[in-house]
Amino acid sequence: MSKPAAFDIPYTRFLDPEGRAIVPVPAFAQDASALIPDYRAMVLTRTYDAKAIALQRTGRLGTYASCLGQEAVSVGFGSVMQPGDVLLPTYREPGAQLLHGVTLVEMFLCWGGDERGHDFAGPREDFPVCIPVATQAPHATGVALAFKLRGEARAVVCCFGDGATSKGDIYEALNLAGVWQLPVLFMITNNQWAISVPREAQTATATLAQKAFAAGIPAEQVDGNDLIAMRHAAGQALEKARAGGGPHVIEALTYRLGDHTTADDATRYRDDESVSRHWKEEPIARLRRYLADAGVWSKGDEEALIAACAKEVDAAAETYLATPPEPPEAMFDHLYATLPPSLAKQRAALIEEAAALIAEAKGNG
């Protein structure tokens, strides 16, 4: 019996949960102060996240999906993306979106139910958050193919979760990226849960990274609560992709500390004890401790950062709340490049109805 194929999955962690380096950190992290911008981005992300939940709870935002506990994943790969790279995020990647130029106001608008939030002023080629799980993966290969056809040294980051790995779209996209050697980083955020379904119930595999072997793509596992490990692995993968080295899969191991969304109640299906346990591994305290131990972060720095983040997020929320909705007929104005005549009639009818209803409301008021 010969063996035509063999594989393994490496695992990377630099910082332990106490923020101590257990192996020598990579060059970019040797001056710990170089990590401060990432730390700030993680805290800003968490501040935004908390505000979004608060707005939802008070009826001023739609259903919201928190990224609490996953900030190092998103900030980790986000901080090594270049402006020319393209991001295809899930709903739990505000960290990367922010770093790639999406604004807080745009993100609030999205969750507030306003399509203009998807019209990013900054990263014009980034995709909006993808709601149908896994369907963004084929798009990512299409974008990467565009880069390859044009000979551009750019890469794509395609985000998805542990639950998403069960869906065929992911496999089909991985397979294409493998066979056409497309510049994509497939970024699996394994937060251990797909709503109420635990990671073990999604698949029998020992790792999610090994899904890549079905596509002939190299893959690795990373401690997703270790910002340094995330940045290291994602940075290498993106450099390789931009240089024509083909796709890569990273499985980041992290934990969803919050409910699935504001519409979910996680106590129905998991016990508080396991959540508390995972709080001890969370990424922000870990990096803070590392920075403090390295002498580049003080209590005063922390207080100033918290205040600055709160101010920035509150201001963005105010701007969002002060943005009036589009007029009703906006629902017709971007459906096609040019409105077909038959729809012009429907648009006119809508304007008329809206005017009548608004007049009626005024009359009653």
């Binding site: 739609g62 259903t63 969750w111 507030g112 139910g113 306003d114 399509e115 709601i131 149908p132 799980v133 896994a134 639950g163 998403a164 069960s166 869906k167 065929g168 779209d169 797909a194 709503i195 109420s196 379904v197 119930a201 999604q202 698949t203 519409a263 979910d264 129905r268 299906y269 909705p325 589009e326 009703p328 906006a330 629902m331 017709f332 459906l335 038959s342 729809l343 429907q346 809508l350 109805e353 809206a354 009548a356 209803l357 009626e360």
Partner: protein
């Protein structure tokens, strides 16, 4: 007799069907411990165990295909799709296999499955959580498409769907999952499929609708009654196969018909009903048929969604237009 909401009636029917028939299985995403994101499967895992209530991996095409396989083996799978917006990956299995297995094998392999999905808008949900593309399914030969509009209908129609020997797409109007409570006896009595329900009688205009839109339509009938106009309200309930007889009989009486649905106008199921009126009811029609529907555009996100959905006002206005013709 319990006063239950529509979603509780769904739960009651599932429990009843499972208690009555050991071949009934419930599966889908988050249907187990979580009890479904709308709680429609709440308590089933505890009561019937993990061999009959199964959380699947996240893959709708797979869910549908597994149902086809189980059904071919004589089980009665009741698969949940979490939101109708996520049913499209299952469409290939529904169109290419579920709807055809009996015909393809001349009755040897059959497909007694139910695929349940909450549908429709108006709950301030994110994108893709407000779909109503029932017409796509109702076009497919071999399927049944059933939509309840009240707790008692949910109970009786779901039981009928589960017992039906052929595949049923069962769409639950989630906007009214908890809108009203109604006394529903847990007596295992199914309602007929292939039949409309007349919710209100009236002689001047026929209002035809289904699902959550029965609320606005009944409200419109009330408003019209205040003006002395008698509106008959028909809840189609089983879109496919379509029971036109009841609708035609009503239109023969009233001469006027307004069709109300939330889905986009063009090619919505209202088109089929209006077409049948143009074919089989033309001589009774005293006024053009009116359709009050979602517009032919994408359901907007929550800030604008109320403008998309047919309102009571639009229904009343359409009925008045129909009555303008002498």
């Amino acid at each position: 007799m319990a006063e239950v909401t529509l979603v509780e009636a769904v739960n009651m029917a599932l429990a009843k069907a499972m208690a009555d028939d050991a071949e009934v299985l419930v599966f889908g995403e988050d249907v187990g411990l979580d009890g479904g994101v709308f709680r429609s499967t709440d308590g089933l895992l505890a009561r019937f165990g993990a061999a009959r209530v199964m959380d699947t991996p996240l893959a709708e095409g797979l869910i549908a295909g597994v149902a086809v396989g189980l059904a071919a083996q004589g089980f009665k799978p009741v698969a949940e799709i979490q939101f109708m917006g996520f049913i499209y990956p299952a469409l290939d299995q529904i169109v290419s296999h579920a709807s055809r297995m009996r015909n393809r094998t001349r009755g040897r392999l059959t497909c007694p499955m139910v695929m349940r999905a909450p549908f429709g808008g108006g709950i301030r949900a994110p994108e893709h959580h407000s779909e109503s593309t029932e017409a796509m399914f109702a076009h497919i030969p071999g399927l049944r498409v059933v939509i309840p509009s009240s707790p008692s209908h949910a109970y009786g129609l779901l039981l009928a769907s589960i017992r039906d020997p052929d595949p049923v797409i069962f769409l639950e109007p989630k906007r009214i999952y908890r809108a009203v409570r109604e006394e529903v006896a847990d007596d295992g009595r199914a309602l007929p499929l292939d039949s409309c329900f007349t919710l209100r009688e009236g002689g001047d205009v026929t209002l035809v609708t289904w699902g959550a839109m029965t609320m606005e339509t009944l409200a419109a009938a009330e408003t019209l009654a205040d003006e002395g106009i008698g509106a008959e309200v028909i809840d189609v309930a089983t879109l496919k196969p379509l029971d036109m007889d009841q609708i035609l009989t009503s239109v023969q009486k009233t001469g006027r018909c307004v069709i109300v649905h939330e889905a986009a106008l063009s090619g919505g199921w209202g088109a089929e009903i209006a077409a049948r009126l143009a074919e089989e009811g033309l001589l009774s029609l005293l006024a053009p048929v009116q359709r009050v529907t979602g517009y032919d555009t994408v359901m907007p996100l929550l800030r604008l969604e109320q403008w998309y959905m047919p309102s009571e006002g639009r229904i009343v206005a359409a009925a008045r237009r129909a009555l303008e013709y002498a």
